[in-house]
């Protein structure tokens, strides 16, 4: 579809998609780098812990994917890729924009904080390698809110773009 086709509502949708993956990706990058800083220090002394560390580093990376999923879902559900394009009103567009923004913020903050939680877990593993299982739990607690945020986003996107709902919103 050519750009002239994009009405304001539709444009707002993609703005929201951009915010969702942009903020989430930035958060994951940030969170991972926090964990990596801690990890590099530990590996200098104890290179054998690499395997356990890798898991701890990878944990804050999921938020980026959650944002990506939200963005892709917006694109497919509004018909930008594959499938028939549906009419999107200004109201729906605005709603979508803020859903994307909310998702982005949740992912951004949780990724950063998860990075910090991972770093804390890493220093625990450094001192007591046998408690790796427990250390993995710390970041998982933080991630809960990223998962819940994603779920809410997915539900919103699906329901906002179903024809019935669209009619209802005008």
């Amino acid at each position: 579809m050519s750009p002239e086709w994009i009405e304001i509502g539709r444009g707002l949708c993609y703005g929201g998609a951009g915010l969702a993956f942009g903020l989430a990706g930035a958060g994951s990058a940030w969170g991972i780098s926090i964990a990596v800083h801690q990890c590099a220090g530990v590996l200098r002394e104890k290179p054998e812990l690499f395997g356990r560390m890798l898991v701890m580093i990878a944990l804050p990376g999921t938020q980026g994917f959650y944002g990506f999923i939200a963005a892709i879902l917006i694109m497919t559900q509004t018909g930008l890729i594959g499938g028939s394009s549906i009419k999107i009103s200004l109201g729906t567009g605005l709603a979508m924009f803020f859903v994307g923004l909310g998702c982005g913020i949740a992912q951004l903050m949780s990724a950063i904080k998860q990075g910090e939680a991972s770093a804390a877990g890493i220093s625990l593993i450094a001192r007591r390698p046998e408690s790796a299982g427990r250390a993995i739990l710390f970041p998982a607690f933080v991630e809960t809110y990223a998962v819940v945020g994603l779920l809410a986003t997915v539900l919103f996107i699906i329901f906002l773009t179903q024809p019935v709902v669209l009619k209802f919103l005008g």
């Binding site: 690499f50 395997g51 879902l73 607690f141």
Partner: protein, 691 residues
């Protein structure tokens, strides 16, 4: 399938044979030795035997020293997968005996120390040379002997940088300049230095010479010029000559280091570095074992004639221990009894082979206490179920199953890794099932636009799919939460079981049954929001809720003194801040299970995104199909790894936090029998022999 019953063993033997006794116990590898003092009364005049561990300690130090040196000079090219999970070395008794006989540790150590000293010396000297060269570098352009620049009895010579601007502004007619002789050393180009970000200040090197009597005035003047002095090194020759000399020295010492590197190879004695390291590790395991044996010896006590050692043993091993000890030490007395309730008994759990992988999780969280029950059998179905739902994709499941099967075959000797591989294997099977039910085969790769009309994946997908979570999200969400409710109820039931085992019948009713009644009531009432329930069912819900709540309010505060306090405690615990559970806690726990849906969706949506990208490339003529395949392979491998990690971590979390939170308390001391096998090295059994 539970916590293995342990027996407490006490062996009393003649004092002379104490070393041999501990050695026998060590070889059997079935008994954990504990501090025998703790079981004696304080006034028993037994003493701790004196044991010298210094030789084992020094040998271990020597081995570590050689290993360190080898790591510095012969770093092993590590296999990436191996570095993920460090595996113990596997050896056999023949090999161990051969190494003990042939390997001359002292000689190797002496050689290694020499090499290490040479190496460190050379490193130190190179560092010194480098600092000196660093100091000399700014003086490279002074083409006279340094000696000439020394201050003499009456004349002071200073060399240093002055900003070019200031130098130009010098008014030579001023009186003081009549006393100073100066010359630019590097007239052509100066040292450029940035100041305040915008201005570059060009500094030139200048030599000043003046009579000592004017020193104070001149120095004041120079500081106004922003003069920065360079301290001259105490050398006589030209800087260039000295530099060349240093360069040569450095080269020499570098050669020395290279020589050391070469010489380290002698340590290998025609082995590859890996083999040599393996030998050392086996030796290390041997000496660690010797040391552990000596430490165990010190845990026993001795009197004038007798030596006594005490410990725990698995009930099934008692016969073996008893027979061996009685045969080898006919005059010994061995008593075997049940541990008393107040003892801190170590815990060993044993589960049938099929269920064993999940034992890893129990060990991770912390072992159950000896008097409680082992949760391992009760977290099999739910863990694999959660994993399967989170990872739900048929093709990923097949990949994981194959990977698990391959790894478990490869790692049969290593218990921990083997369990993990088998966990992946079962998890893969579960993913295949849930992937088929939710219709995810590499995401939506089955669609005609990727693989063409009527492809086999499409037919299979259509055949098995019963719910598409993307289309019927709310239904899928309710299923996920429903599983959560079931799992929470299962947890409460296990809590009742635990309380029943402790004969706490009031607890069974109040902390278990009352909650189940109350929560069932709430669930029925919540059902009203979604569908129109018949009046009678709804009323039953209210009735159940009220009965349960009354029971809880009356019993939850039973630890608190005073009727009013007890009542208030009951009321608060119904809400869920204190007490065994709470309505808010239950809602929170149940909602947490929505991650099952979210992670399941993540796996398939990311896969779909990669399919979409690959599909766009497919249209390109000639290379399109190749790009299509490349993007698919890379994308799916990536998604496979990240989703597997997510699925594992989150199913584990659901088990540890939501499920274990209901009934389980871990943290017991694991049972560690005295024996050779360790994380470092294990002995493959050939035949029964004595080390």
């Amino acid at each position: 399938m539970a916590i293995e019953p342990l027996k407490k063993v006490t062996i009393v033997n003649t004092k002379e044979a104490h070393r041999r006794l501990i050695k026998t116990i060590n070889n059997l590898g079935i008994m954990e030795v504990i501090d025998a003092r703790s079981i004696l009364k304080d006034d028993v005049p037994f003493t701790t035997p004196k044991v010298d561990t210094s030789s084992a300690d020094s040998n271990l130090n020597k081995i570590d020293f050689i290993l360190n040196l080898m790591d510095t000079f012969l770093p092993e090219k590590e296999n990436f997968l191996k570095s993920l999970t460090p595996l113990p070395v596997v050896t056999s008794e023949t090999e161990l005996n051969k190494i003990l006989k042939e390997y001359n540790l002292d000689e190797h150590y002496k050689y290694a120390v020499e090499l290490d000293e040479t190496y460190r010396n050379a490193e130190r000297i190179i560092a010194e040379i480098e600092t000196e060269m660093e100091d000399l570098r700014p003086l490279m352009d002074i083409d006279i002997d340094l000696e000439e620049l020394y201050s003499t009895k009456r004349i002071k010579i200073l060399i240093g940088y002055v900003p070019e601007k200031k130098l130009k502004a010098i008014d030579e007619k001023e009186e003081i300049w009549q006393w100073i002789a100066w010359e630019k050393v590097s007239p052509s180009e100066g040292l450029k230095e940035k100041e305040d970000r915008k201005d570059t200040v060009i500094k030139v090197k200048v030599i000043f010479a003046f009579l000592k009597e004017y020193e104070e005035e001149v120095k004041k003047l120079l500081s106004e010029l922003n003069f920065e002095e360079i301290t001259l090194p105490k050398r006589k020759e030209k800087v260039k000559e000295r530099m060349a000399e240093l360069e040569e020295d450095k080269e020499n010492y570098k050669n020395k280091i290279a020589e050391v590197k070469e010489k380290v190879n002698y340590l290998l004695e025609d082995n590859t570095p890996r083999e040599a390291k393996k030998k050392l590790l086996i030796l290390k395991a041997y000496w660690t074992n010797v040391r552990n044996r000596q430490l165990a010896l010190m845990k026993g006590v001795e009197g004038k004639w007798v030596y006594m050692v005490s410990g725990y043993i698995r009930a099934k091993d008692t016969e073996l221990l008893k027979n061996t000890i009685e045969k080898e030490f006919p005059q010994s007395i061995i008593t075997i009894e049940d541990p008393s309730p107040e003892e801190d008994v170590p815990v060993s759990i044993s589960v049938p082979y099929l269920l064993r992988p999940i034992q890893l999780l129990t060990e991770m969280f912390g072992l159950p206490y000896y008097k409680n029950f082992d949760p391992t059998p009760f977290m099999q179905i739910n863990f694999y179920l959660f994993f399967g739902i989170c990872f739900s994709d048929v093709c990923y499941g097949i990949m994981l199953t194959l990977m698990g099967a391959y790894l478990s075959k490869k790692t049969r000797l290593y218990r921990g890794v083997n369990n993990l591989s088998r966990m992946l294997f079962y998890g893969g099977i579960s993913s295949i099932i849930f992937g088929a039910l939710t219709g995810s085969w590499f995401g939506d790769l089955y669609k005609p636009e990727y693989l063409g009309e009527g492809n086999i994946l499409y037919m299979l997908q259509q055949k098995f799919v019963i719910i598409d979570p993307m289309a019927k999200t709310i239904i899928a969400l309710i299923i996920a939460l429903g599983l959560g409710v079931l799992n929470q109820f299962f947890g409460i039931t296990l809590k009742m079981y635990g309380l029943y085992r402790k004969r706490d019948f009031i607890g069974v009713i109040s902390d278990g049954l009352c909650w189940i009644i109350t929560l069932t009531g709430i669930l029925i009432m919540a059902g009203q929001v979604f569908t129109d329930l018949p009046k009678s069912i709804f009323n039953t819900g209210i009735f159940l809720f009220i009965i349960g709540a009354i029971g809880l309010i009356l019993t939850q505060g039973r630890e608190i003194k005073g009727t009013a306090g007890r009542f208030a405690g009951g009321l608060i615990s119904l809400y869920g801040i204190v007490g065994s559970y709470g309505i808010t806690a239950f809602i929170g726990d149940t909602l947490s299970y929505c991650r099952l849906l979210a992670l399941g969706l993540t796996t398939s949506i990311v896969a779909m995104a990669f399919n979409l990208m690959a599909g766009m490339l497919k249209g390109i003529p000639y290379i399109g199909i190749i790009l299509f395949i490349i993007v698919l392979v890379i994308g799916h491998v990536f998604n496979f790894l990240i989703s597997a990690l997510g699925a594992f971590v989150h199913s584990m979390r659901l088990i540890f936090v939501e499920f274990f939170g209901r009934f389980y308390e871990g943290g017991a001391r694991p049972f560690q029998p005295l024996g050779f096998d360790s994380n470092l090295c294990i002995i493959k059994k050939e035949k029964k022999a004595i080390i």
